[in-house]
C-alpha cells in the first residue's frame, strides 16, 4: 500500500544520523521531526535564524518573537541559538548544514528540482529554497510520486522554472525511495505492498530497476 505523508516522514527520519544539523522545509518535511530515532541527537536549523528549534509550544508558552521559517510558533531547545538571516544563510552556504529535506513540484532524473513557481498561476517566491538546494551537502526531496492529475513528478526534464540544477540526492515518495545517479533515478526501495510495475508506470524519468527491490522499513 502506498504511504501517507506520515509514512514518508517516517522513512525520511531513518536517513538522520547522530550529530546532524538539519533544515526541514514546509509541509511533509516538517513532520520528519516527529520521528527522530530515540538513540540519536539531531539539531534543527530554521533559516530565519534559529539553531536548535524545538517542538511547538504549550499554549501558555507561545511567543510572537519566536517563529520558524514556516511562520509557525515554535520553541528553542536547551543549547539553541539565535542569529540573523544573513548568518543563517552563511551557515547554509558554507556547508555547515548536513541535510536539507524539502518538497517539490517536479524532480528530474538529473537531480534538478522545481518547486517555486507556476508561470501565470502562482507567484509566491522561492524563499530560501534556491539557497538551500545550491549549498546543502545532502538534499532529500519529500513529495508525492504524481501530481493531482496523476502525472508523474519524476521527469526526464523539469517543465516548471527550476529552483536548482543537479542538486537532489534522493527522493522519497508514497511509493518509493529513489537515488539520483549519473544514469537517472535508481530505485532503492518500494513502499510495503507496492509493485515495481506501479513505480515504473508512474515514473516518467529514466529509471534504473535492480533485480531485487526491497520494501521500505517504516516502523
Amino acid at each position: 500500500m502506498a504511504l501517507d505523508k506520515f509514512g514518508i516522514a517516517k522513512r525520511i527520519a531513518k536517513e538522520l544520523k547522530d550529530g546532524m544539523y538539519v533544515n526541514l522545509g514546509i509541509g511533509i518535511p516538517t513532520l520528519v521531526a516527529n520521528y527522530i530515532p530515540q538513540d540519536i541527537t539531531v539539531v534543527f536549523q530554521s533559516e530565519n535564524g534559529i539553531l536548535g528549534m524545538g517542538p511547538y509550544p504549550e499554549e501558555a508558552a507561545i511567543d510572537a518573537d519566536l517563529i520558524n521559517a514556516g511562520k509557525e510558533t515554535v520553541t528553542v531547545i536547551n543549547g539553541g541559538a539565535f542569529f540573523d538571516s544573513a548568518e543563517s544563510f552563511g551557515m547554509i552556504r558554507a556547508g555547515k548544514i548536513d541535510l536539507t529535506v524539502l518538497g517539490a513540484m517536479e524532480v528530474s532524473d538529473q537531480g534538478d528540482i522545481a518547486n517555486w513557481k507556476i508561470p501565470g498561476k502562482m507567484v509566491k517566491g522561492m524563499g530560501g529554497a534556491m539557497d538551500l538546494v545550491a549549498s546543502a551537502k545532502n538534499i532529500i526531496v519529500a513529495m508525492m510520486h504524481t501530481n493531482p492529475k496523476g502525472e508523474s513528478k519524476l521527469l526526464p526534464k523539469c517543465s516548471l522554472p527550476l529552483t536548482g540544477v543537479g542538486c537532489v540526492k534522493k527522493v522519497v515518495t508514497e511509493l518509493a525511495v529513489l537515488a539520483i545517479t549519473p544514469n537517472g533515478f535508481q530505485l532503492l526501495e518500494r513502499a510495503p505492498g507496492v509493485s515495481v510495475e506501479e513505480i515504473i508506470a508512474k515514473t516518467a524519468g529514466k529509471l534504473i530497476v535492480p533485480d531485487f527491490v526491497p520494501e521500505m522499513e517504516i516502523e
Binding site: 510572537a64 511562520k71 509557525e72 538571516s85 544573513a86 524563499g127 534556491m130 539557497d131
Partner: protein, 230 residues
C-alpha cells in the same frame, strides 16, 4: 547629538514619494508596526519596499498594499498575501523575487561596504538571466550586488538613546543587517533606555548605524500561524 524622536510620525516625516525603503522582519515577526502605520498616515506613494515578505492582507506591509502606496517590492516569499498576488498579476505592482539568502546577504554586503559577491543560489535558474556567472573550484556562482536603501526601518526589543539595539529571539532575521545598511536607519523599540542601561556585551547593532530611534507603542505582534503542542 540627539537621535531620539517622539514617535513614528515624526521619525518618518521626511520620507518622500518614490523612496527606497528596507523594512525588517520575517513574515509578521519583528516588523516595524509603528512606522508602517505612520507611512500609511503620511500617504507617501511610489515606494520601493525591500522586505523578505509582504505581510498579510490586513497587517504589516499588506496595509501599504491596500492603499496602493507600493510601486515595487523586493522580496523572497510573498505567498501569505493574496492582495499582493492580485496586484502583481494585474500589473499594478512590480516585484523582484530574490532568493532569501541572496536578499539577506546583499543587504549585509551593503552594510559592510562591499559592492558585489558570488553565490551559488539560483545558478541555472531564471534568476541567473543577465548575471555574471563564474566558476570557483569547480562550482558555479552568480554575481549578486549589494542592496542599498534610502531608509532602513527596523524594530528592536530594546534600544538606548545612543542607538544601540538589542533584539529578542527570532526577531533578528533581516532587521540587524538592514539596520546597518540603510542610508538613514530608523529604529522603533519596545523599550527605550538611557545609555549605560544596555551592557555593551549584549549589543546586536551598534549605535553608529542608527540615526533615529523612538519608543514604540501599542504593539500587536500578530502571529501568522499559531501552532501548539498537540
Amino acid at each position: 547629538m540627539n537621535k531620539v524622536f517622539k514617535d513614528a510620525i515624526e521619525a518618518t516625516a521626511d520620507i518622500k514619494n518614490g523612496a527606497i525603503i528596507m523594512l525588517g522582519g520575517f513574515g509578521l515577526n519583528g516588523i516595524p508596526e509603528n512606522c508602517i502605520a505612520a507611512l500609511v498616515k503620511h500617504n507617501v506613494c511610489e515606494l520601493t519596499c525591500i522586505s523578505n515578505n509582504a505581510g498579510v492582507d490586513d497587517f504589516g506591509l499588506g496595509l501599504l498594499l491596500q492603499t496602493k502606496q507600493i510601486k515595487k517590492m523586493i522580496s523572497s516569499y510573498v505567498g501569505e498575501n493574496a492582495l499582493f498576488e492580485k496586484q502583481l498579476l494585474s500589473g499594478e505592482l512590480e516585484v523582484d523575487l530574490v532568493p532569501q539568502g541572496t536578499l539577506a546577504t546583499s543587504i549585509q554586503m551593503a552594510a559592510m561596504g562591499i559592492p558585489a559577491y558570488f553565490t551559488p543560489a539560483g545558478y541555472g535558474t531564471e534568476i541567473a538571466i543577465g548575471k555574471e556567472v563564474r566558476e570557483f573550484d569547480g562550482k558555479m556562482y552568480l554575481m549578486e550586488k549589494a542592496i542599498h536603501a534610502d531608509f532602513a526601518i527596523v524594530k528592536a526589543w530594546k534600544g538606548d538613546k545612543a542607538g544601540n539595539l538589542v533584539f529578542r529571539k527570532a526577531t533578528r532575521n533581516f532587521s540587524t543587517s538592514m539596520a546597518k545598511a540603510g542610508n538613514i536607519t530608523i529604529a522603533e523599540v519596545e523599550h527605550l533606555v538611557e545609555p549605560g542601561e544596555i551592557d555593551p556585551d549584549e549589543v546586536d547593532v551598534a549605535g553608529v548605524y542608527i540615526h533615529r530611534i523612538f519608543q514604540g507603542s501599542n504593539y500587536e505582534k500578530r502571529i501568522e500561524r499559531r501552532t501548539t503542542k498537540i
